[in-house]
């Protein structure tokens, strides 16, 4: 069951690559993501939503992730999007009748044009926002992103809070496995996934995990401060994460195309 859940909610992680999308500086890429998401919310026409979905597919293609990745990683998002559409289709009864179908003798399914369009738009907006964020995370090295944000003005204490969190995700995952093994060795049955066992697992795993985490935090604090962390209000960086002219140009072009395209399509249809 655990494996089933894992497959349903696949891990969101950076997938190294050397495509144009991967190589783009994290800051313009983040700004483009924000502008894209804003466009998804602002332009509510179905044609615009479809166009934005098409743009997204193109970028998935450029980044080498392909439709396989889209279907595999976003399966649950697609299913959720379909559910949103279904609710809209059933609940909105405006426009002209597209379809009438007797499911049972007493229940008749009617699909109205406004309901179908509203459902499609809602589904596309939902998918566009989630899938674009997935694309960003999958093609952006989190380390580079945080260093870029710090060099752009994010206080370095917040930046390193994020970096150390990322650093300790695999450590705590491993610790949790060891703790689970240690509790099982004491005769505590944690195999399987019944609700009772899940509750028991939380009870027996959480306390040792918190204690281990606190120990590591103590070590980490000593390690960082003994290397002058926090001595000055600023710090220097070995790698300069500067955005070059070409990348600014990509950002500007992308922004103009998204906004102009959105306005054009909204007015045309």
């Amino acid at each position: 069951m655990a494996r089933g859940l894992k497959n349903l909610f696949p891990g969101l992680a950076y997938m190294p690559g050397d495509t144009a999308v991967h190589r783009l500086h994290p800051l313009p890429k983040l700004l483009l993501l924000i502008i894209y998401s804003t466009s998804v919310i602002v332009f509510s026409h179905v044609v615009t939503a479809l166009a934005l979905f098409f743009v997204l597919l193109v970028f998935y293609g450029i980044s080498g992730l392909g439709p396989g990745f889209f279907l595999r990683k976003l399966r649950v998002i697609l299913l959720f999007g379909l559910l949103i559409m279904l609710i809209q289709v059933i609940s909105v009864r405006q426009g002209y009748l597209l379809l009438e179908y007797a499911v049972f003798s007493s229940i008749t399914l009617r699909i109205w044009s406004a309901g179908a369009v509203a459902g499609l738009v809602m589904m596309l907006r939902f998918i566009n926002i989630i899938a674009s964020s997935y694309l960003f995370v999958s093609t952006t090295d989190p380390n580079k992103l945080v260093y870029a944000l710090m060099q752009a003005g994010l206080p370095y204490r917040y930046g390193f809070a994020l970096i150390t969190s990322l650093r300790f995700i695999p450590v705590f995952t491993r610790e949790l496995t060891i703790i689970r093994n240690a509790q099982m060795a004491k005769g505590i049955d944690l195999e399987g996934m019944s609700p009772g066992k899940i509750l028991r697992a939380v009870k027996y795993l959480l306390t040792p995990l918190v204690i281990c985490a606190l120990n590591k935090v103590d070590y980490l604090a000593v390690s960082m401060e003994s290397r002058a962390f926090g001595l000055y209000s600023g710090r220097s960086y070995l790698f300069k994460q500067s955005v070059d002219k070409k990348e600014w140009l990509i950002l500007a072009t992308g922004t103009i195309l998204l906004l102009a395209g959105g306005i054009f399509l909204t007015h045309c249809f």
Binding site: P142, N143, Y147, F160, I163, T164, L166, R167, P170, V171, E175, I178, I179, N181, A182, Q183, M184, A185, K186, G187, I188, D189, E191, Y204, T207, P208, I211, C212, N215, K216, Y219, L220, A221, V222, S223, M224, E225, S226, R227, A228, F229, G230, L231, Y232, G234, R235, S236, Y237, L238, K240
Partner: protein, 528 residues
């Protein structure tokens, strides 16, 4: 190197000058440090040893400025570091003068990439990009890790992580580097890697190394300090201090001393051979994979009555996985485990655990309950039910392991050594026939290691057996009957101890052999 370091000490001002420091932790009755006076000169190499809880790590925190700034308690006296009074300067300000490398290589690395980790300190000092780059290259070169420059931190081995931790401190160019048990969590290969780095450190950097295992440190140290109950009770030329003090105090377990009872351990090999025909546990073709990666492959061995079996091998060779597979926590891809003529391959963990009690490496992973007594009794209750029947037994074990006074106390407030004893008590409480001990000696001084030895010997004399993952060849030689040596998930050898060490020597695993007495060479050879 020794002479180089000694030559420098006499002409320079001290790097650190500690004057009458006493420190008491908040809520503690006894001081952790008492009237400490210490001078460390440029280029000196000082080894500090002593029993667990004697104040070694507290002294390190004091020198690095974390006491009095971050650790709660009362401090008197002064610590002057490169002319700066630690009471006036926070640790960050002392960072350029003192570097601290801690025991756990995993917890002290804070970035995702090796190059970022080594650059972290110089970046905090706001140095120029060129200077940072030079320092990173130099520090990585100094620890022989230039090839690791672009690696992800999580992908490094324990020894590599500790080398990077040392490099990240060296990049600060400190006048004094303090290493607090830097090899405690490493296998013999990793230990050798780290010690080679320490030996090659530049002669003008003073080094303080806190260690229980002194064998490889004595020849390269200028001074050996022994601490006890918060005081420096001995400070002098290493060979002399060891000869006149340490050997009598038996602080260390890597010099191979034997008690009468331990002698009987090896004698029992003969006895064991008589019982070869009737193994208690038989493992056949044991193969385990995890996440598509083969961890153990075609492992075959038997365990006979009264046998203490050592499992040795490098970190990642599959030792812990082997113990977990015996207990049923790791499922077998193929193979069979037979216990007392019964195939237990498909048996649940809770059923197997009645016969096999496992003590994990880090007691914090096992401890859960809110009183020491409940923690000690938990496995007995879980596995057999009914608390009253074992009440007397648990109490007598707590008494035997010097834990009865904490019976109603919170387990998490115990020291690491006490927690380790508690996890052993919780297993001995239900008297499983077979003990599975995963690196029980890590971070333990001689006295605490002795408690484990005696418990294992007593268990054997009562008819029990033990399988122990262990990195201490001297311990294996003195207490075990058999060696299983794993390499990359395969059983390289399964032999009686003496024969096993001969084979390991032939195979070139020199780090895994019981050591020659280096101190003897130093005291009676070149040193005297």
């Amino acid at each position: 190197m020794n002479n180089q370091r000694q030559g420098v000490t006499e002409i320079d001002l001290p790097v650190v000058c500690v004057g009458g420091v006493t420190f008491k932790y908040e809520g503690s009755r006894e001081p952790a440090l008492s009237d400490i006076n210490l001078r460390v000169d440029k280029g000196e190499f000082i080894s500090i040893t002593g029993g667990s809880g004697c104040g070694k790590s507290t002294l390190a925190l004091c020198l690095a400025g974390f006491i009095p700034h971050h650790v709660g308690g009362e401090m008197s006296g002064s610590v002057i570091v490169n002319g700066m009074d630690s009471r006036q300067c926070p640790p960050q300000k002392l960072a350029g003068a003192i570097g601290l490398v801690q025991q756990d290589p995993e917890a002290q690395l804070c970035t995702l990439k090796v190059v970022d980790e080594v650059a972290f300190g110089p970046e905090n000092l706001c140095l120029s990009r060129e200077e940072i780059k030079d320092r990173v290259e130099w520090a990585l070169g100094a620890v022989g890790s230039l090839h690791l420059r672009d690696r992800e931190v999580y992908s490094l081995s324990g020894g590599e992580k500790q080398r990077i931790a040392i490099a990240s401190v060296l990049a600060m160019k400190p006048a004094l580097i303090i290493l607090d048990e830097p090899t405690a969590n490493l296998d013999p290969c990793g230990t050798t890697e780290v010690l080679q780095v320490i030996k090659k450190m530049e002669a003008d950097t003073a080094v303080i190394i806190i260690e229980h295992r002194l064998r490889q440190l004595i020849p390269i140290s200028n001074r050996l300090l022994v601490m006890d109950k918060g005081r420096i009770i001995c400070d002098g030329e290493p060979g002399h201090v060891y000869k006149n003090y340490c050997s009598r105090q038996k602080y260390y377990f890597d010099f191979g001393y034997k008690t009468g009872e331990e002698e009987s351990s090896n004698q029992s090999t003969t006895e064991e051979r008589h019982s070869q025909a009737n193994p208690v546990l038989s493992v056949r073709d044991l193969t385990v994979s995890c996440g598509g990666k083969r961890i153990l492959e075609d492992i075959n061995f038997d365990i006979h009555p009264g046998q203490i079996t050592a499992v040795m091998g490098c970190n990642g060779s599959g030792k812990t996985t082997l113990l977990l597979s015996l207990l049923g926590i790791n499922k077998l891809e193929r193979g069979r485990i037979v216990y007392r003529s019964r195939d237990i391959t498909a048996e649940k963990v809770s059923r197997r655990a009645r016969h096999m009690g496992m003590v994990f490496q880090n007691p914090n992973h096992q401890i859960f309950e809110n009183t020491v007594y409940r923690e000690a009794a938990l496995p007995s209750i879980m596995l057999f039910g009914g608390e009253s029947a074992m009440n007397a037994g648990i109490n007598s074990l707590l008494l035997e392991f010097d834990l009865l006074q904490y019976k109603e106390g919170i387990p998490f407030s115990l020291s690491l050594g006490e927690k380790k004893r508690l996890t052993l008590v919780s297993v001995l409480g239900y008297n499983p026939e077979m003990l599975l001990l995963d690196e029980p000696l890590i971070g333990q001084d001689y006295r605490r290691a002795d408690i484990f030895w005696q418990a294992v010997l007593k268990h054997r004399s009562a008819g029990g057996m033990a399988v122990i993952v262990c990195h201490e060849p001297d311990f294996v030689r003195d207490f075990c009957n058999r060696i299983l040596f794993l390499e990359n998930g395969k059983l390289l050898l399964d032999s009686p101890v003496e024969e096993g060490f001969k084979l390991l020597e032939e195979l070139g695993f020199k780090d895994y052999l019981p050591g020659s007495n280096v101190i003897g060479d130093l005291c009676y050879g070149q040193g005297s």
